[in-house]
Assembly symmetry: none
Homo-oligomer: 191 residues x 4
Amino acid sequence: MRVTKDPQIRKQEILETAMTLFEQNGIGKTSMSDIAKEANVTKGLVYYYFSSKDELVEAVVALFVRDTNQRLQQIVEGSSLTFYEKLLQIMTLYFVTIQEHLKFVEASPANAGIYELIKNSLSESALVQTKDFIKQATEEGILTIDYPEYTLKILINGIADLYLEGVHNPKIFATLIEQTLALPKGSLQLK
Amino acid sequence: MRVTKDPQIRKQEILETAMTLFEQNGIGKTSMSDIAKEANVTKGLVYYYFSSKDELVEAVVALFVRDTNQRLQQIVEGSSLTFYEKLLQIMTLYFVTIQEHLKFVEASPANAGIYELIKNSLSESALVQTKDFIKQATEEGILTIDYPEYTLKILINGIADLYLEGVHNPKIFATLIEQTLALPKGSLQLK
Amino acid sequence: MRVTKDPQIRKQEILETAMTLFEQNGIGKTSMSDIAKEANVTKGLVYYYFSSKDELVEAVVALFVRDTNQRLQQIVEGSSLTFYEKLLQIMTLYFVTIQEHLKFVEASPANAGIYELIKNSLSESALVQTKDFIKQATEEGILTIDYPEYTLKILINGIADLYLEGVHNPKIFATLIEQTLALPKGSLQLK
Amino acid sequence: MRVTKDPQIRKQEILETAMTLFEQNGIGKTSMSDIAKEANVTKGLVYYYFSSKDELVEAVVALFVRDTNQRLQQIVEGSSLTFYEKLLQIMTLYFVTIQEHLKFVEASPANAGIYELIKNSLSESALVQTKDFIKQATEEGILTIDYPEYTLKILINGIADLYLEGVHNPKIFATLIEQTLALPKGSLQLK
DNA sequence: GATGAATGAGGGTTCATTCAT
DNA sequence: CATGAATGAACCCTCATTCAT
C-alpha cells in the first residue's frame, strides 16, 4: 500500500537504513533493492531521493562523518574534563567508530575510493577539532612533544590497527599512549 | 590466434596481470574478463589455471605477502647496516608497499576478508621478522621503551596513514619516529 | 522497447513460454535466455518473476500436474458416463499427457529429480482420484481382480510406453486392457 | 607420464569409464573432462577415439543394450529352466537393468533423445529374444492370452514403474504378473 | 597414439537504473 | 510523492572442442 510521509523524514529513513545495511554487510553486498526492501519503500523512491548508489553512499559517509565530528566536538568542548580524560574519550571514540563502521572499508563497485574518503574526512575534522585541545595542553606544559597533532593521529590510527589485529589489553594501550605522547607514567587510566 | 606457452610462465603472467589490475582498479572492479583480456588470453584459460576468482585473489595476495616478507627479511638480515639504517628501510618498505598495493585494502564481494587477510599476514610476519632486530637494539641500549614491537607497528601503520593523507615532509617523519621510539634527536636522517 | 503488462499475465506468459520450450527441446537444452527471447522479454524480467531456473521448472511442473489432475477429476466425476467410458477417457488422458510432455521426462542439470517429481506427483494424484472410481466398479462386480489400482497403473504406464514405441492400433489396446483388467471381451470400444 | 596401450583396450576403458560415470551422475552432469580424468587419460585422447560427446554417448548406449541383450539371451536359451523360472529371470533382469541405469533417462545436452534411444533399442531386442520363448509357452498351452509379447512388455515397463514408485512387495508383483498373463494362481514364486 | 594448453560460445545470475502509471 | 515492472550490461563460471607438440 502507498504510504506518504514527510519528504525529509523519508529521506532520512532511507539514509539510515542504508547506513545500517552498509555497516552490516558492506557496501558492495548491499543492493539498492536491499535498502528499499529494508526501508519498506520501493526502489523507485530510493532513486527519487538519491539519484544513484554513489550519491547514496556519499550521503551515508557524510552522515557518518558529521556524527563522529559532533561527538568529538562534545568531548573537546566538555570543559569539566581534564586533559587526560578528554584524551581517553577521544581514543575511545575512534576505536568504537572504526570498529562499528569497519565494513565501510570495503570497496564498493560504485565507489572504490570510499576508504580514503572516510579517512580523509575524519582526519581533517579531527585535526581541526583537536587543535585547541592540543594547543591548550601544550601551553599548560602537559604536552611537550613536537608535532603533537600528527602524533595524535599516528596514535589513533596506529592503535586502532593494533586493536583490530587483536591486541585488547588496556594497560598496554595506556603505556603506549603515555610513551608516545611523552606523558608521565601512570597518568592514563584506561579501564 | 592460438599462442601456447610454458604453463608456469602463463600462470605467472596471469597472476601478475591480475595483481596489476587489482592494484589499479581494486578487486571488486576487476573482472575475470578484464584479466583475461589484459593477459591476451581467454577467460577459459584463466579458469584453467585458477579455478575461481577467489582462488586467483588468494594467489595474488599470497604472492604479495611473500614478496613483502622477502624484502623485509633482506633488510633485517643485512648485517652491514646500522640500526637506524635498517629502521629507515623498514619504514620505507611499508610506505612503498602499502602505497603500491593500496587497492588491496578493499574487500572484494567474493572475498570479504581480504583486508584482514593481508593485514594479518603482513603483521604477523613483520612481528616475527623484526623480533630479533628489536631485541638486539634493546640489548644494545638503543631502544629503551616498553612494547617496542607494538610501538613499531603503531609507527608503521600510523605514519603510513599520515603519508597517505598528504604529509610528505621527511623531517617531520624523522622527528615523529625519533620521538615515538625515544631515540636521540637527529639520529635519523630521512632523505 | 518497453512494454508493461499486468504482472499476473506476464508471469503466466513466461510460464507458458517456458512450458512450451521445455516440451519442445527439453529442460536442459532450454536456457533462460531462450525463454526470455521467446517471451519477448529480457532475462532480467524472467528472474524478476522466477528467482532461479529451478523455481521456474518447478512452477512449470506444478502447472502441468495441476492441469492433468483437473482433467482427471473431471473425467472421474463425470456422473453420466459408464465405467467403460471413463476408463477410456482416463487412458486417453494419460496417453496424450505423456506424449505432449514427453520431454519433461528428462532430468535437468539443475533439477535432477524432475522425472521422479512428475511421475510421483501424477501417480499419487491418479491413485487418489481413481480410488472411488475403482471401488465403485469393484462393488458393482465389473472389476474382479486383485490390486486393481496397481493394475490400472501398470496399464497406464505400460500402454503409454507401447504407444511411444509405435504401437497405435486401438483394437490391440482394447484387447490388452480387457485382458489385463479381466473385463468381458468387446466391452471396450476404442476409436 | 605417457602410457601407451593397445588401442582397443584403451577405447574400451574409456567407454566403460564413461558408462560408469553416466550411470552415477547422469550424462548431463558428466563432462568429457570428468571421463578423461577418471580414465587416467587426457581429453585429447578421448576425442581421438570418440569424435564427440554424442558419439561417446551412443557408444555407451550401444554397449549397454548389447549387454542387456546378451543376458536376456542367456535366460531365454537356458534350456533347463521352466517357463516360470525364465519369466522370473526376465522380470528381474529388467528391474535391475532399469534401476542400475536409471540415470540414462536424463537429458543430455548432447543427446536429448537418449531416453527413447535406449527404450526402443531394448524393446526391439526384447521382442525378438522373447518371441520363441513366448511362442513355445503358447504352444504348450501355458500362455493363452492374445498379444502375449505386448502384454509382456506392458508388464515389464509397468511393473518397473511401480517398483520405482516404491512398491516392493514380491507377493503383489507375483499376483499382478499371474493375473495379467492369465497364469494359474500361485504359479509364480518371487522371493 | 597421446598430451594438455587454449579456445569460444553459452549458461545462470545479479543489479543499478529507468520509466509508465 | 510513490510504485514496481522492465531493462541491459556485466559477472562468474562451465565445457565441448581444437591443435601444436
